[in-house]
């Protein structure tokens, strides 16, 4: 077949389509978003009725996928690394229930925090929940491993985790497709109690999971995704996981690599392979584009064995993404340097688009907050988090999705009254609603500003689960009707918006201000599309 030029994300999507999935469940999050977007736009997916609309959050996505697996069909769940924290309860318990139809979970990590709050390494989740993990090193492997993950999942009746990082997710290369496999027919588990995790059943299921560990490890030794390359220079042995293998190879473009190398792409760690390498060399260098998972295990608590180098001994910086130069330094190769960057180069931080509704909302809020001491605005995650930067400098927190409302509750309980929460519409339905319910139940004196721009702006404008529902949800949760105020964040409405905000800040109970105006990026795209359709209708006539 002809090669396709695909992002790592797209290769995973195509791999899943060709593996015969019946559905993908996901909540957007950089760098994982393009997987689901690719499936949503795919002709093959449409023809084969693969369901692909966005879920409200990662937990609902994970649970829906478990449901599809229960019914015997293959499903993919995608999220960014912090999304796996949200889905963790369902994810870890799915290891105990096991899978019926193929169940593959993709988590996209972001070392160097290009667009995230932390750089957690999802491989630890795989180890924690005792399931196999795949870690591709390039786009072709991303495709092949996704297909293989479904095979593995059904062979052993287990969910399988795929871990990628930003660099692979967002890098393009040629990928060769294989034939497209059929979807499964509906077929319930042979044991209809398998998914009931009552303690008595859970204990049995957990023993089953423990019993599969040897099979998982054997598979990692034999699948071909872990390879031990022998070498003649035994002074050093190298373990290179996922993408790190490329950075190693990059440093040996024009010279021969004489050290033995273990290329790792599948976990649990292939212990026999690691042992062969360990026994044959004087010293080990572990290259991992994330936390030191293998390195820490090899080194052990007391570090009394052979010398193990990597992130923990400073051979590689403890934080941040790997790159060819860091690997060269760890190998004690000569590291090339370029020109020095002149001092006149200034940072160009991202900012709210010109005309963004959030600017008008925060301009009004800033003015209203002048009546109180500083430090009362708890924010959430979205484009509006950029209001932390100059010139607005409106907010005081951004911890995890949904934390604005709940942190405001805690601060108000501590006596910081009024406390304000600022949250986007998509974040509100992701995990703000339950917090609002808490506030209503305790009559917390907080003011919640829901920045409703009808989209998930930060990740590129995906449909928001909150679309057209924000007011009704607030009423349903129990916010008093006259304490739900809708404003239109526009400069010319500044004075009246300011008045509304001031009134609600003064109110000693839960109030919600819905600042409602569409994101201008999605508005622009919608208008363009409308014009295009109009043109098409004309030419058809």
């Amino acid at each position: 077949m002809q090669k396709l030029l695909l992002l790592g994300d797209e290769a995973i999507a195509q791999g899943a389509i060709d593996a015969g999935i019946s559905g993908v469940y996901a909540y957007p999050g950089t760098p994982s978003t393009e997987i689901t977007e690719y499936i949503q736009a795919s002709k093959d997916a449409k023809e084969n009725n693969i369901r692909s609309s966005w879920s409200a959050n990662e937990k609902t996505a994970m649970e829906s996928a478990i449901g599809m697996s229960y019914a015997g069909k293959k499903s993919l769940v995608c999220m960014k690394h912090v999304g796996l924290n949200v889905a963790a309860d369902a994810f870890i318990n799915s290891a105990i229930t096991g899978a019926n139809g193929g169940l593959v979970v993709l988590s996209a990590d972001d070392p160097s925090m290009h667009s995230s709050q932390n750089e957690q390494d999802s491989r630890f989740y795989g180890k924690f929940s005792l399931i196999p993990v795949m870690e591709p090193s390039n786009q072709q492997e991303a495709y092949d491993m996704t297909r293989y993950a479904f095979e593995l999942s059904e062979k052993f009746g287990t969910p399988v985790l795929i871990r990628v990082t930003t660099r692979l997710a967002h890098s393009r290369a040629g990928v060769e497709r294989k034939e497209m496999l059929a979807q499964n027919e509906i077929k319930l588990p042979s044991d209809l109690k398998q998914f009931i995790l009552l303690p008595s059943i859970a204990r049995k299921q957990y023993d089953i999971l423990l019993g599969k560990q040897d099979d998982f490890e054997n598979d990692a030794e034999t699948s071909g995704f872990n390879t031990l390359f022998d070498g003649t220079d035994k002074s050093l042995g190298i373990i290179a996981c996922g993408l790190a293998y490329n950075y190693l190879a990059e440093n040996y473009q024009d010279k021969e690599l004489l050290y033995p190398v273990l290329k790792v792409g599948q976990y649990p760690i292939p212990v026999n392979m690691v042992n062969s390498l360990y026994e044959s060399v004087d010293e080990i260098l572990v290259l991992e584009d994330g936390y030191p998972l293998i390195e820490e295990l090899l080194r052990g608590l007391l570090n009394k064995g052979k010398k193990v180098r990597g992130r923990m001994d400073g051979s590689i910086p403890a934080s941040g993404e790997l790159n060819p130069n860091k690997v060269a330094a760890a190998l004690k190769l000569e590291v090339e340097t370029g020109h020095t960057i002149p001092d006149i180069v200034q940072g160009r931080p991202p900012k709210l688009c010109d005309g963004c509704s959030h600017t008008d909302s925060f301009t009004a809020l800033n003015e209203a907050m002048l009546d109180y001491s500083a430090g009362r605005v708890f924010s959430d995650i979205g484009c509006y988090t950029l209001s932390a930067l100059a010139p607005l400098e409106s907010i005081n927190s951004c911890v995890d999705m949904g934390a604005s409302i709940t942190m405001a509750i805690g601060a108000a309980d501590a006596g910081l009254i009024p406390s304000v929460a600022a949250i986007g519409d998509s974040t509100f339905t992701h995990s703000g609603i339950t917090g609002l319910l808490d506030a209503v139940n305790t009559k917390s004196p907080i003011t919640v500003i829901i920045l409703d721009n009808s989209t998930t702006g930060m990740t590129g404008g995906q449909d928001s689960s909150a679309f057209g529902k924000v007011e009704e949800i607030c009423k349903g949760v129990g916010v008093e009707e006259d304490r739900i105020r809708v404003i239109k964040p526009l400069r010319r409405h500044h004075e009246e918006n300011l008045k509304v905000i001031r009134e609600e800040l003064e109110y000693n109970g839960v109030s919600v201000i819905i600042a409602k105006r569409e994101c201008i990026q999605t508005l622009g795209r919608r208008m363009k599309e409308k014009a295009r359709q109009k043109r098409e209708v004309k030419t058809v006539k």
Binding site: S171, Y247, E250, Q346
Partner: protein, 194 residues
Amino acid sequence: MKKDIILAGVGGQGILTIATVIGTAALLEGLQLKQAEVHGMSQRGGDVQSNLRISSGDISSDLIPEGKADLIISVEPMESLRYINMLDKNNGWLVTSMNPFVNIPNYPPVEDVLKAIWEVPRNVTIDAEKVAKEQGSIKAANIVALGAASPYLGIKYESLEHAIKKIFASKGEDIINLNLKALSAGKNYAVKKT
């Protein structure tokens, strides 16, 4: 054949279009390629950059090693300097538009930026917006910059033309011709100047 190229600019300036043109042309010539893009914040005026690697052999890393890039193509002068550490000190070319995109309060004086660029051995600076306007639209400034870099790409000029025709096919003849003219004007400028 092996070329490592850094593309630089500000979100919305069309550097991914440059990458697509070069990438398509490279595929037409049967070359391999890897292209690491920056996604996410680009629509909001931040700096964007892409690592594009093309080669007749296998390519390992998605990232170009520091000090090894053969070429920097930038649509904005200060952005061209942000990645100057990536450029091969002995052989690399820096090709950039001279038109500053000022969306920060502390943007340095343009003269200082240009002075720093002119100190880089093997540089080409071009008023891409003016040249693009002369060809019909300022929107083609990115393709003008690509044209100015075309002599150093190691890809046949005809392949770039072919790629433009392919990529802009859905946008109609006018857009194709505008971009072909922009490419050619950029190239002529670079050839004349160096």
